[in-house]
């Protein structure tokens, strides 16, 4: 087992599933569904094996030797004339405390989403082919350590997502799908440009001592690897690092989505089928913040330190603006979508604190938001399947008709509000503790607490409109949850409660990495300062 390439396995297993499904006739719908469930189930098991073998004491972040489950092979190596340089791209996978949480989240959410896809009725085969391709893209982003590879996985997700929203979505699906695609592609071309810029600015030392340009992200994190006159090199007095940072940040921020780049999200969520909403909110949004933590922070620590106040400000705007928008919604799903905008704001705020508590809170919030929002979207899906409407004002008194459903929904709502004892509380508390602890963004954090209040406001108001009051005549035939819905909601509920009671399970996992990152960011001040006069 020692040398088993488990990261490749977990990433490319869906592709294997795809190839098998390709040869299954499309009338065999149950076989296709079961196979997908099997694939995602094996992914969960693989993720647990990874978790089991994960060494909690290794930091990772910028240190190649403390990454785990590393797989590094030469993929593309072009030696050339002096003017074309040597282009080397490695197939370089590895995880640290930051990515292991995301791998786990992706495995769990994808598995739940497969269950949720059971009632898809149109072109089953195409749906699951796209679904599995998306799965590979998501896993790949979280395990890739080579920028080139990272980018390929990043872009790999776009097309399946376009089709999943565009074919299997709601009435305005075409508009939502193309909006999602154009927005995210706009973001990723900026990432591409910065990637090329970084390539020409940083070098990697080979075994024979020669230095070559590199796409290796870890090499880009060491200031000594930069060339003297690269456009993104801190050693070059005329460097474009600030502009590049903003471009890169915007590229990731579109995915989060950060205000003012969030407008694609409500459209995409409202039109996407339930399972895809679950994946979108549960995993895809995390890629934005993950990208910032994995790429922006360690490669541009000098700029990050300068700009944390703005990151926190945008986090704050996300929190307040998202909450206010959520409050104004009459569509259940749109409300949850805007609540995601608000909750991702907490992640930005926590990241901006640059201390251990804040960043731990941010990563924990990423995980918790993934599970809680998955639950919320599932509950919306449950009611939409039965009533074929999501208008909040159409309901009322459902608690008497569907008590168990009401129970699960309440749990998810309270977790989202941040009720102590549930997972949302811990991460939000950590985010604010961190933000208060960091001097520069304390004021913003104080205002940010308003978001919790607003969150409680719209969530409780929604509960009231849907579950309390008198039951409308037309809804008195609605059945309560069925077996499949139990199977989706119970595991998520358990995670939410477990991490509310015992958050250390997750915090310990990331602790070494977060500490390492905070130390790295603090050291960067002196390292970059001594080099370029900070």
């Amino acid at each position: 087992m020692e040398n088993f390439p488990i990261l490749s396995f977990i990433t490319f297993l869906p592709v294997v599933g795809m190839l098998i499904i390709l040869f299954i006739p499309k009338t065999q719908e149950t076989v296709i569904k079961s196979l997908t469930l099997l694939v995602t189930g094996i992914q969960v098991i693989a993720a647990l094996i990874i978790l089991h073998g994960f060494n909690y004491s290794l930091g990772g972040i910028n240190d190649p030797s403390s990454f785990q489950f590393i797989e590094k092979f030469k993929w593309i190596d072009i030696t050339g004339f002096s003017w074309i340089g040597r282009i080397k791209v490695d197939y370089f996978l590895g995880i640290d405390g930051l990515s292991v949480t995301m791998v786990l989240l992706t495995a769990i959410v994808t598995f739940i989403a497969t269950l949720s896809s059971w009632n898809i009725s149109k072109s089953i085969k195409g749906y699951f082919l796209m679904f599995l391709l998306l799965d590979t893209g998501m896993m790949g982003v979280f395990v890739a350590l080579d920028f080139f590879l990272f980018y390929i996985f990043w872009e790999l997700m776009l097309l399946p997502m376009y089709f999943l929203i565009g074919i299997w979505g709601g009435p305005r699906r075409e508009y939502a799908a193309i909006k999602f695609f154009l927005y995210t592609l706009l973001g990723s071309v900026f990432i591409l440009l910065v990637m090329i810029g970084l390539y020409f600015s940083s070098t990697e030392t080979l075994a024979d001592g020669s230095k070559i340009f590199t796409f290796n992200m870890l090499s880009m994190m060491d200031v000594h690897n930069f060339t003297a006159n690269g456009i993104l090199s801190p050693l070059n007095p005329n460097n474009l690092r600030l502009i590049a940072y903003i471009a890169l940040f915007v590229g990731f921020a579109i995915k989060i989505p950060m205000f003012p780049f969030h407008t694609w999200l409500p459209d995409a969520h409202v039109e996407a089928p339930t399972a895809i909403s679950v994946i979108l909110a549960g995993v895809l949004l995390k890629m934005g913040t993950y990208g910032i933590l994995r790429v922006c922070y360690p490669i541009f620590p000098d700029i990050t330190i300068k700009l944390v106040w703005f990151i926190a400000l945008f986090g704050l705007i996300n929190i307040i603006y998202g909450a206010l928008c959520a409050m104004a919604q009459k569509d259940f799903k749109k409300l949850i979508a805007y609540s995601s905008v608000s909750h991702m704001g907490f992640v930005l705020l926590g990241m901006a604190s640059l201390n251990t508590i804040g960043i731990s809170g941010a990563i924990l919030q990423m995980f918790n938001h993934g599970t809680i929002t998955a639950m919320l979207f599932l509950t919306v899906g449950v009611i939409y399947d039965r009533a074929h409407t999501r208008g909040l004002d159409d309901f009322g008194g459902l608690a008497t008709q569907m008590p168990i459903y009401a129970g699960f929904t309440t749990l998810a709502f309270f977790a989202a509000i941040g009720l102590p004892g549930l997972s949302g509380f811990v991460s939000e508390a950590f985010v604010f503790l961190g933000a208060f602890g960091s001097g520069s963004i304390r004021t913003l954090a104080v205002i940010g607490t308003l978001g919790i209040l607003l969150g409680a406001g719209y969530m409780l108001w929604t509960m009231q409109r849907v579950f309390l009051g008198s039951l409308k005549e037309k809804w008195n035939k609605l059945p309560d949850l069925d077996f499949r819905e139990y199977a989706m909601l119970i595991p998520l509920s358990l995670i939410v409660i477990f991490l509310g009671v015992y958050p250390s399970a997750m915090l310990n996992l990331m602790n070494a990495s977060v500490n390492h990152m905070v130390k790295f960011m603090m050291d960067a001040k002196t390292v970059y300062g001594s080099l370029i006069g900070f």
Partner: protein
């Protein structure tokens, strides 16, 4: 004539073996057409054999660096170098695919009695293009350009029964005539100033500052007009949509790949050889004083890609859409030249190798669909992804590749263009080009939307595709997917092909 010169002539003939092969093939094609009066089945075979032999000769002398047809001094009228050979190989490859396309094209099959002239004219074009990519003399440039143009005018109007076809041909002739006239004017001015038509001699003459005057600059621009029309760079692109829409699909595909590749090779050679001062160790070119080709080409290329992309947004005919898309791609390719470095040329070569497959593939699928439905309108593509999933998925992959999304080869092509731009610190230009890519996504995705997202009013009839057509599509698909994840061989090829004779 002394023996030395005769020897030199014989040596030169050895160097143009591929061209001679094509010429012989033309003769055989005409003879076969005459002898086998009613039976046209032999023609594609003869064509393929001719192309294979020519291809063999090109590969055989791939790394030769030599002048052919000495004009008295140390230079010659033709240059045989890896750069030219790469483009010749590309042209031969594209031609082979076009022959295969033609065999399965319904439009072409309907004109069976004129197949002889069809294949002969295609070979006329091939011959012209081969001379185009290796010419180092303004007269040869002009003659080869005309040979290509005249053959393609007739080919564009080959299915003359349809109205739009004749229109296409006529438009092509008028535009072509005017631009080649302008080009000839430019050539005459340069000859008037320098007294030479050989690019190498002109280059050594204009090293002295007194010839670097405005007239010379204008003459350069006039010649650019003639070549710009061939590569459909804005503002000389107006013929492209109409001709692409009107011409039979195999010919449209041929124009969009081979003719464009030859035009680019010629443009690169013309600018580099005529105006070069030196190449620094980094591979950047330094051009001679007065003409700021770099800014000029940047402006043209941004204009070309922006115009192509935005115009494509509103197209409802697949051939027109691909026409505007090919204009936009000419814009990206021009950026590779605008970098004015060997790296940029390598990027162009990589782009072309990929572009050939993805664009030919897209046209092939459009043709296969048109064979059955008789339509290239986007509205008739509704539900195609469900009725004929194979063609739907194949076209989707080609279009995604044309957009430049990984993991398809189109991404690698774009990547190398951007790498060259960033390396030359042309960041603003790179940003404009990238934003153009985002615009282009919209119209490529629109096709996918019609195929997969829209349901037709009545269920589209499923149609069968022949095994040969499936195989051809797969042959196109393979490099588009393989080079997307493993592009080492492609870059190695490009690296070995950038060497221009003399520099």
């Amino acid at each position: 004539m002394n023996t030395y010169n005769l020897n030199y002539l014989v040596n030169s003939l050895y160097l143009i073996k591929p061209e001679i092969t094509i010429s012989i093939a033309i003769v055989i094609l005409v003879l076969v057409d005459l002898i086998m009066d009613k039976n046209k089945k032999l023609l594609p075979f003869v064509s393929m054999i001719g192309l294979v032999v020519a291809g063999y000769f090109i590969v055989d002398q791939f790394s030769t660096n030599s002048f052919a047809f000495n004009t008295g001094s140390s230079t010659g009228m033709l240059v045989i170098d890896p750069f030219g050979n790469f483009f010749k190989l590309l042209i031969v490859l594209a031609s082979a695919f076009i022959i295969l396309f033609s065999v399965s094209s319904k439009e072409i099959k309907e004109n069976l009695e004129r197949h002889g002239e069809y294949f002969t004219l295609i070979f006329g074009m091939i011959l012209g293009m081969m001379f185009m990519v290796s010419s180092a003399d303004l007269i040869v440039i002009y003659l080869s350009l005309e040979l290509v143009s005249l053959s393609s005018y007739i080919l564009a109007g080959f299915t003359k029964q349809t109205l739009r076809n004749s229109e296409a041909s006529l438009k092509y002739v008028i535009y072509g005539g005017i631009s080649s006239g302008i080009m000839l004017f430019g050539i005459s001015i340069i000859y008037g100033i320098t007294g030479s038509t050989n690019l190498y001699e002109i280059n050594s003459l204009i090293q002295s500052p007194q010839i670097q005057n405005l007239t010379f600059f204008l003459a350069g621009i006039l010649i650019f007009v003639g070549i710009g029309y061939k590569i459909s760079a804005a503002p000389f692109h107006f013929w492209t949509p109409d001709v692409y829409e009107g011409a039979p699909i195999p010919i449209t595909a041929f124009l969009s790949i081979a003719s464009k590749a030859a035009g680019f090779a010629l443009l690169i050679r013309f600018i580099k050889i005529t105006f070069i001062k030196s190449v620094d160790p980094e591979g950047f070119w330094h051009l001679l004083g007065i003409i700021d080709w770099k800014s000029f080409i940047i402006v043209i290329s941004i204009l070309t890609m922006t115009l192509g992309n935005f115009a494509a947004l509103w197209q409802n005919n697949m051939k027109r859409l691909l026409a505007y898309s090919s204009i936009a791609h000419a814009g990206y390719l021009l950026l590779g030249l605008a970098v004015m470095s060997n790296e940029g040329i390598a990027a162009i070569i990589i782009y072309f190798a990929i572009y050939a497959f993805m664009n030919l593939g897209a046209f092939l699928v459009v043709m296969l669909i048109a064979n059955k439905t008789g339509s290239e309108e986007l509205d008739d593509y509704k539900g195609l992804g469900y009725s004929t999933p194979f063609l739907g998925v194949a076209l989707a992959i080609f279009l995604v590749s044309l957009t430049g999304l990984p993991p398809t080869a189109g991404f690698i092509g774009k990547l190398y263009i951007f790498i060259a731009l960033v390396d030359a610190k042309m960041i603003v230009v790179a940003v404009i080009a990238l934003l153009n890519t985002v615009v282009s996504l919209y119209y490529y995705i629109r096709v996918l939307k019609h195929m997969f997202l829209d349901r037709p009013e009545k269920e589209a009839p499923a149609f069968s595709i022949s095994a040969a057509a499936v195989a051809l599509v797969v042959v196109m698909l393979t490099p588009v997917l393989v080079f997307g994840v493993y592009f080492t061989p492609l870059v190695d090829l490009a690296k070995n092909s950038v060497a221009l004779m003399g520099f």
